[in-house]
C-alpha cells in the first residue's frame, strides 16, 4: 500500500540533496558507508554461488602440491640443508603452505577488484553504479573488501586442509602478528588494485597485463623460495612489494616465534608501501577514469 509517499520522500530528498544549489556535504575521496554497502551486496551475490568458496578453498592446494612433491623428489624427505641455508627453515612444507596462503591474497587482490569492475561492465551495472552519489573509488574499495572476505573464507579452508594433510601446527601466539601483517599487506595491494582497475576502464580487457603483473609478483615474492636465489638485479624489485615484507614477517612469527617487537621493520615497511601504493593507485585510477569520461567509453566493454 502506498503511504502518502510524496511529502515524506520529498522531505527525505531535501534532507540529502536539496535538489537546489545548496551544496550538501558529500565525501570527496572515498565514501566508506557506500563502500560497506557495496561490499555487503557483493558478498550477498557471492553467497548465491556457494560452491565457489569450496572450489577456491581447494584449488590453491592443487597449485602448490606439485612444489611439495617436487621438493620431496629432490630431497627424499621434507627437509633440506640447502633449503635451510637459503631460507633459514629446514622444513619446506610449512614454508610453502604459508607462502601460498599469502599468495592467495595477492592473487585475489590483483585479479579480484578488476574482475569485479569487468563483471560490472559485462552485466550492465557499471553505469548505474558509477551514477551513485559517491566517489568512484568507494566502489572499488567495496569490491576489495568483499573480495578479501571471500578470499579469507577460501584461505581458511586451504589452511585448515593443509594443517590436516601435512600434520602442521603453529603457535597460537603467532595469530596476532600474522593477522596484522596480512592486513597491512592487503591494504597495500588494495591500492595496487585501484591502479589495475583504472587500466581495466581504459583497456577494457587487460587480462594479459594482469596475468603478467600477477606472474611477476609471484616470481619476486618469496613464496616458494627465498629472494636470495633471485638474480642480484631482481632482488631490490622484490623489496618494493608488500607481499615480500608480509611473508618474511609471517614466517618469522609462525615458524620462529617472533613477536611484534621483532617484526617492526616489516611493519614499518608495509605501512610505507601501503601509503605509496594507495597514493599511486588512487592517482592512476582517477587519471584513467577522467580519460574514459573524456573519451566517452566508460560503459563500453
Amino acid at each position: 500500500m502506498v503511504r502518502n509517499p510524496r511529502s515524506r520522500l520529498v522531505a527525505s530528498s531535501r534532507r540529502q540533496t536539496a535538489g537546489q544549489p545548496t551544496p550538501v556535504k558529500l565525501p570527496r575521496v572515498i565514501d566508506f558507508s557506500a563502500a560497506g554497502t557495496i561490499a555487503k551486496n557483493s558478498l550477498r551475490i557471492s553467497l548465491r554461488y556457494p560452491a565457489n568458496f569450496l572450489i577456491w578453498g581447494v584449488l590453491p592446494l592443487f597449485w602448490f602440491l606439485p612444489f611439495i612433491f617436487t621438493g620431496i623428489a629432490f630431497t627424499g624427505g621434507t627437509t633440506s640443508a640447502s633449503y635451510q641455508s637459503q631460507t633459514g627453515y629446514a622444513n619446506f612444507i610449512p614454508y610453502l603452505v604459508l607462502g601460498w596462503v599469502v599468495f592467495t591474497y595477492v592473487d585475489s587482490s590483483v585479479w579480484g577488484v578488476g574482475n569485479t569492475l569487468r563483471w560490472y561492465q559485462f552485466s550492465g551495472v557499471l553505469e548505474p553504479m558509477f551514477m551513485i552519489p559517491a566517489p568512484r573509488l568507494s566502489i572499488l574499495l567495496g569490491a576489495a573488501v568483499a573480495e578479501m572476505v571471500t578470499t579469507s573464507i577460501s584461505t581458511a579452508i586451504l589452511f585448515g586442509l593443509s594443517l590436516v594433510i601435512f600434520g602442521l601446527s603453529f603457535a597460537a601466539s603467532a595469530v596476532l602478528p600474522v593477522l596484522i601483517l596480512l592486513f597491512l599487506m592487503i591494504i597495500g595491494f588494495t591500492g595496487f588494485a585501484f591502479a589495475l582497475s583504472g587500466l581495466i576502464l581504459v583497456f577494457k580487457d587487460p587480462s594479459v597485463l594482469t596475468e603478467l603483473v600477477d606472474t611477476i609478483i609471484y616470481i619476486l615474492t618469496p613464496i616458494n623460495y627465498s629472494i636470495n636465489v633471485l638474480p642480484l638485479w631482481a632482488q631490490p624489485l622484490s623489496l618494493i612489494l608488500p607481499s615480500t615484507f608480509a611473508l618474511v614477517g609471517i614466517r618469522e612469527a609462525a615458524l620462529a616465534a617472533a613477536g611484534l617487537p621483532q617484526l617492526w621493520i616489516d611493519i614499518v615497511m608495509l605501512v610505507i608501501l601501503d601509503v605509496l601504493f594507495w597514493a599511486l593507485g588512487m592517482l592512476l585510477f582517477q587519471v584513467a577514469e577522467h580519460h574514459t569520461r573524456r573519451k566517452g567509453t566508460l560503459g563500453e566493454y
Binding site: M1, V2, R3, P5, L9, V10, S12, S13, Q16, T17, A18, G19, Q20, P21, T22, P23, V24, L26, P27, R28, S33, A34, T37, I38, N41, R44, I45, R48, S123, G124, V125, E127, P128, F130, M131, I132, P133, A134, P135, H290, R293, R294, K295, G296, L298, G299
Partner: protein, 335 residues
C-alpha cells in the same frame, strides 16, 4: 519556473583512432557529437530530446549524469555543475540508461531497490519502505522477492525505472525508457510518467513519436549535434501545417528523386513495410493539386498504388521537414 537542467553552448567531440589492418594506428577520426547546444528544462516540465541514432541524445544524457565530460560549455543540474560538483549532481538525479540489463540479476527486485536506496544515502528503514512503495506502484509486490533473473524483460525494466526514483530525485533523465518493451508494458510506463511524475523535471529521449507526443510538454529536435527546432508538440506540428502530408501505400520499387521534382513537393520519405510493400510520405504544398501527377509518377516507375491518404502531421514529419530524414524506422510503435 526554477530550472532543473541548464545547458549552455555544450560541445562534445569524440576522437577515435584509425587503425591500419585493425592494429597499427594511422590517424584520428573526430566526431562532433554536440555542436554547442543550449536548452533548459524547468521543474514540473517534461522535455523530449528527439533525433535519429547519432544525433547526440545519449551523449547529452551521459554528460548530464556525469558519465561523460563535456569539452566546452556550461552544464548545471539542479544548480550543480556537472564538472565541478559531480557527486552533488548524481545525488539529485535519477537516470535510466542501458535498459533492463542494468539490474543485478542475482538479487531480487526488492534487494535491488534497497541496495540503491542505501547507495543514495537513504537510512536503512527508509530504503526498505521506499522499495516497498515503488514495488507496489509498479505492480511488482508479489514478485518482489524473486531474483531478477526470473523476471520478464518488462518487469526488469520496471525495476530499472523504480531504481531511478528510489531517492525521489527532483530531476529525472530517461534514455529510451520503453525501448524493446512490449506495447502493454510501454503503455504502463508512459502512464506512470504522466500521472505520478508530473511535478518532476524530466528529460526524455525516445525514438517513438507517439511517446514524445503523449508525454512531453516541449520537444527539442536534435540533428547531428544541433537543435534544429523546439516547441510544444502542437507548435511543432502546426509549424508545418502549410504543407499537406500525403501517405501512399505502394507495391514495387520506387526512386525518390523523380517524385521530389514534382511541383510543390518538398520532402519524400520511403519506409519499406514488412509485407513487401512500402509507404511513401510526401510533404506537398497543395495535396489536391498534385495528387494526379503523383499517382502518374509512381505508376510510371512501375509501382502500384494500393491506397493513399492525407494525414495529420506527426513529429516525425516535422523532423523530415527540418532535416530531410526520418527520426526512426520504428517511429510508429503502437501505444
Amino acid at each position: 519556473m526554477s530550472t532543473g537542467i541548464d545547458i549552455r553552448k555544450l560541445v562534445k567531440t569524440f576522437t577515435s583512432t584509425k587503425r591500419r589492418f585493425g592494429i597499427i594506428p594511422s590517424g584520428h577520426v573526430e566526431t562532433r557529437a554536440l555542436k554547442g547546444i543550449d536548452f533548459a528544462v524547468g521543474k514540473g516540465e517534461t522535455v523530449g530530446l528527439l533525433g535519429p541514432n547519432g544525433a547526440g541524445k545519449t551523449t547529452t544524457i551521459k554528460i548530464l549524469s556525469t558519465l561523460i565530460l563535456p569539452d566546452a560549455g556550461e552544464v548545471r543540474v539542479n544548480g550543480f555543475d556537472v564538472v565541478r560538483q559531480p557527486t552533488q549532481v548524481r545525488a539529485s538525479i535519477g537516470v535510466i540508461t542501458g535498459g533492463e540489463r542494468s539490474v543485478y540479476y542475482k538479487l531480487s527486485g526488492r534487494e535491488n531497490l534497497i541496495l540503491f536506496g542505501r547507495l543514495y544515502r537513504l537510512p536503512r528503514a527508509e530504503a526498505k519502505e521506499r522499495a516497498d512503495e515503488l514495488l507496489d506502484m509498479m505492480g511488482l509486490s508479489k514478485k518482489a522477492d524473486e531474483q531478477c533473473e526470473d523476471y520478464s524483460t518488462g518487469m526488469r525494466m520496471k525495476i530499472v525505472f523504480a531504481r531511478s526514483l528510489v531517492h525521489d530525485p527532483p530531476t529525472l533523465m530517461f534514455d529510451e525508457p520503453t525501448l524493446g518493451l512490449d506495447p502493454a508494458f510501454a503503455r504502463e510506463i508512459r502512464q506512470f510518467i504522466r500521472t505520478k511524475l508530473h511535478n518532476k523535471c524530466i528529460l526524455l529521449t525516445t525514438h517513438y513519436m507517439n511517446e514524445a507526443d503523449f508525454l512531453c510538454d516541449r520537444i527539442l529536435l536534435l540533428h547531428e549535434g544541433q537543435i534544429v527546432a523546439s516547441g510544444t508538440p502542437t507548435e511543432l506540428k502546426r509549424s508545418i501545417r502549410e504543407h499537406d502530408i500525403l501517405a501512399l501505400h505502394i507495391k514495387g520499387r520506387i526512386a525518390r528523386r523523380p517524385l521530389e521534382k514534382l511541383p510543390g513537393v518538398s520532402r519524400v520519405a520511403v519506409t519499406p513495410d514488412v509485407s513487401g510493400t512500402s509507404t511513401l510520405r510526401l510533404h506537398v504544398l497543395d495535396g489536391a493539386a498534385v495528387i494526379r501527377q503523383l499517382l502518374d509518377a509512381v505508376e510510371t516507375q512501375g509501382a502500384k498504388v494500393l491506397r493513399f491518404e492525407f494525414e495529420e502531421p506527426t513529429l516525425d514529419d516535422v523532423f523530415i521537414q527540418k532535416t530531410g530524414r526520418r527520426i526512426a524506422e520504428h517511429g510508429s510503435e503502437s501505444s
